[in-house]
Symmetry: C2
Subunit: 199 residues, 2 copies
């Protein structure tokens, strides 16, 4: 059997542990000779279907405190800026729709990194036309047209479909990394997933 | 400030992710020049106080399936035998009481490893006099006397006190590793905790 030289990264910009994964994945995958398929989906409807009112990481106070401390340490370890968001979880529907539209484009990685840097590196609301215009301008892309396309019925339906696919495949959190049918959950399994893809 | 050259390992034999940690901790800590303090406590009362009927890892089917697959992969990676327990979570009160009695002894590490190998490496019920006699005999220890001491009111109260201490310190899962006040949760944070202890 040919090894899977591709990983699928299922992500949601609202998820804190997606931040280090999104920042690290392309360079790490390139170093392993592995391609990344970007798979934006919405965690909210999945948590709701499971019966969780929010991420299970944030339903208990001591655990939430721990997760933010863990995020600080991981960000420090990977040399990433990190500010605990003053609003959490944040709405990220517009950037998620743009990511859906762009998921096969050459700029998807850089778009995701800039969005997550604004969200978790600088504590900014990224669910606004202004924030997205700033990032798309930074990438020298036609922001008005892209935002209109992102909000088209076709693209909105595509994001809903991706979310349904995630549910069918057993996704219950993010980041979720697939290597073929093999699932790896969490930023702390990113290296394992890449090793699996190359073995 | 002097570095913390000690880690506290808070554990419960019923927790699956405690298995790889208990198997790995002493040799890994020794390689880092770090001492291990063994801190047995009961997860059940903590989950109950939080309002969880079981570990949050096992309250949803797709997540449970994932955790067992993840356990298989971790066991393979660390060269450990692993059989998914046919009963889970298993009662482990007698071995936990023996661990409480023995937590400052020279044989605590080996006792914990043998108990966890029986539980997660061989799918055996370890909450019996027979299972514990086998392990204590293996260690050439006076099993009858130790089991009686383990079930004394004093020792039972000590385990309850440890569990209360864990709750006060914000423990919400296991393994939980403390380096001073710094908390590290999960087998996948063991190396981070040891690095923290030596920095």
């Amino acid at each position: 059997m040919k090894p899977h030289r591709t990983i699928e990264l299922w992500f949601d910009f609202s998820s804190n542990y997606c931040y280090p994964t999104i920042m690290r994945v392309e360079s790490l995958a390139a170093a392993h000779g592995v391609a990344v398929q970007w798979r934006p989906f919405l965690l909210g409807p999945i948590f709701k279907a499971i019966g969780w009112s929010s991420s299970p990481l944030f339903l208990h106070e001591a655990k939430s405190r721990y997760v933010w401390r863990d995020m600080c340490r991981r960000a420090e370890r990977f040399g990433l800026p990190f500010v605990q968001p003053s609003v959490f979880p944040r709405r990220t529907l517009l950037p998620m729709r743009i990511a859906t539209l762009a998921s096969e484009s050459s700029w998807i990685g850089e778009f995701c990194r800039l969005s997550m840097l604004a969200h978790f590196g600088a504590n900014r609301d990224i669910d606004t036309y202004e924030a997205m215009r700033g990032i798309l301008d930074h990438l020298a892309l036609p922001s008005a047209g892209l935002m209109a396309d992102a909000e088209s019925e076709t693209n909105k339906a595509l994001l809903r479909r991706r979310t349904e696919q995630a549910m069918v495949r057993g996704v219950f959190g993010a980041p979720m990394i697939f290597v073929g049918q093999e699932m790896f959950w969490g930023d702390d399994r990113l290296e394992d997933a890449l090793e699996w893809a190359t073995r």
